[in-house]
């Protein structure tokens, strides 16, 4: 499998199924976020509790008010703090004029306010995410990708301190170490696969009035339906944070090598004279 050359060697890093499911996820998660923000815009306010009208203020809210000059001003409230977010949240430009909307048109699908269509996109894509996820998990379990590549070893746990320092200093493993995921990478992927995405699905279910009847009162374990909606929103942005760190690491650890390995599967390990592999 591995091909050696003076500059190092290359090997087949990602299975075809992993590569295909990765890119399906990339497209689907982006569109789920954008259609989700379309749905959020229909009621751009998040509350904690069983209902939206509990007597307590929302925890997050975007509104539009009229400024002193008669122009609309976008206000975002987080707990008891208000910010002027004109242009991005509350009020943003659409077709060259300011309009009142939660998130701006370039972040929503469809771009203009169209709740019914946003819901069609969101629920269809949610099924693609679930089906893609089930296929990926079944493959990863059967091919032992999960055990071999993603489960942290004892050595991984011992290296966690050094790995944190390496990440902060933007140092990347070379030689045989580069052929394996490092501990922080493994933990990040496992968190997404087994915590964040399942939480998205669970909090999504908790918003469905029909699935509310699945077991008596189960939605209360998430704090109630409106808490579930708030969590759904917060976990979505946690996934965006993962995406930003993921893309940053891809960029600084060899963009083309990483991209190629996720497209064709081939990954080049640079020669490293300190490891036995290159002797």
């Amino acid at each position: 499998m591995a091909q050696s050359s003076a500059r190092g060697y290359s090997y087949h890093r990602h299975a075809l199924l992993v590569r295909v499911s990765h890119w399906i996820n990339a497209v689907v998660l982006a569109l789920l976020l954008m259609s989700g923000l379309q749905i959020f815009n229909a009621h751009p306010s998040l509350s904690w509790g069983k209902s939206s009208y509990t007597g307590r203020s929302p925890v997050f809210e975007t509104t539009a008010v009229t400024g002193a000059d008669g122009q609309p001003v976008g206000i975002t409230r987080v707990f008891d703090h208000s910010f002027n977010t004109t242009g991005v949240l509350g009020v943003s430009q659409m077709d060259g004029r300011p309009v009142a909307r939660g998130f701006p048109s370039w972040l929503t699908v469809p771009s203009y306010q169209w709740l019914a269509m946003g819901r069609h996109w969101h629920f269809f894509l949610a099924w693609i995410l679930v089906i893609n996820g089930i296929i990926y998990l079944a493959f990863s379990a059967l091919s032992r990708h999960l055990v071999h590549d993603l489960t942290p070893t004892r050595a991984d746990w011992r290296s966690i301190g050094r790995s944190i320092v390496d990440h902060i200093l933007l140092r990347h493993p070379t030689g045989s170490a580069a052929a394996r995921y490092n501990i922080l990478q493994k933990l990040a992927y496992l968190t997404v696969i087994f915590l964040l995405v399942p939480l998205m699905i669970l909090t999504g279910w908790a918003m469905s009035p029909r699935l509310d009847s699945l077991a008596p009162g189960w939605v209360s374990f998430l704090g109630g339906r409106q808490s579930a909606r708030t969590l759904h929103f917060a976990v979505a942005w946690t996934l965006v944070l993962f995406f930003l760190i993921h893309v940053f690491e891809v960029l600084i650890s060899g963009l083309w090598n990483n991209l190629r390995s996720m497209i064709t599967g081939r990954y080049v390990i640079p020669a490293d004279h300190h490891t036995p592999d290159s002797r």
């Binding site: 229909a42 009621h43 819901r119 909606r229």
Partner: protein
Amino acid sequence: MKRRNLLTALAGLCVSGCDALSRSQWFPNLLKSGEDLSRTVQNALTPRRAMAQEFSERDLSPNFRSNGTSNPADDAYQALARGGFADWRLQVDGLVERPTSLSLAQLRAMPARVQITRHDCVEGWSAIGKWKGVQLAALLAAVRPKPSARYVVFHCADPMDRVGTRYYESIDFDDAYHPQTILAYALNDADLPIANGAPLRVRIERQLGYKMAKFIMRLQLVDSYAGIGAGHGGYWEDRGYEWYAGI
């Protein structure tokens, strides 16, 4: 700067591409295939009689939000409201053995169910209210649906536009016979306010708010809703929303 322009152009392409797909004929039909899948899976996961969560008095929303029509702009309705709905009658007809009409007093005299439930709007908000009304199942037992009847259609008093399109909704028999499906005439221990659908609105606790028609004038039992309105089973369904609003 060039890279930034490229990214902006790519994002613009994505947004306009998604908009074009949303306006096409075929793509929304593909997206809507997810609706059938969701309904099938949700029906399989939750028994037909599974109950929506009920709450306690301390969970009640201070003010139960009014959405959609808050006061029907209709002369006949306004005349009924002025008379305290004493002259209002609920027509029940269509595919039934014994068509009937009932006054508010007759409905109040029937056995009532009281439930504190959460109202979930398609927009995303929820409000909790205490409802009192007649189980739809009891009313159906009195009028005896014909074997061919499959849906209950709610015809409402509120005009939605200047040409007089009126609100309507429809549900299947699973929901019609569900114990929590009631025709409510009281909210929070008082007569149902006009803003919330006086004199009668339906509660369908395992679906979204737009299914729960307000200002009900007539129940019609049908074997298909294709011939009513634009044929999608409800005012909002005719405007692109799902007939199955369990999500």
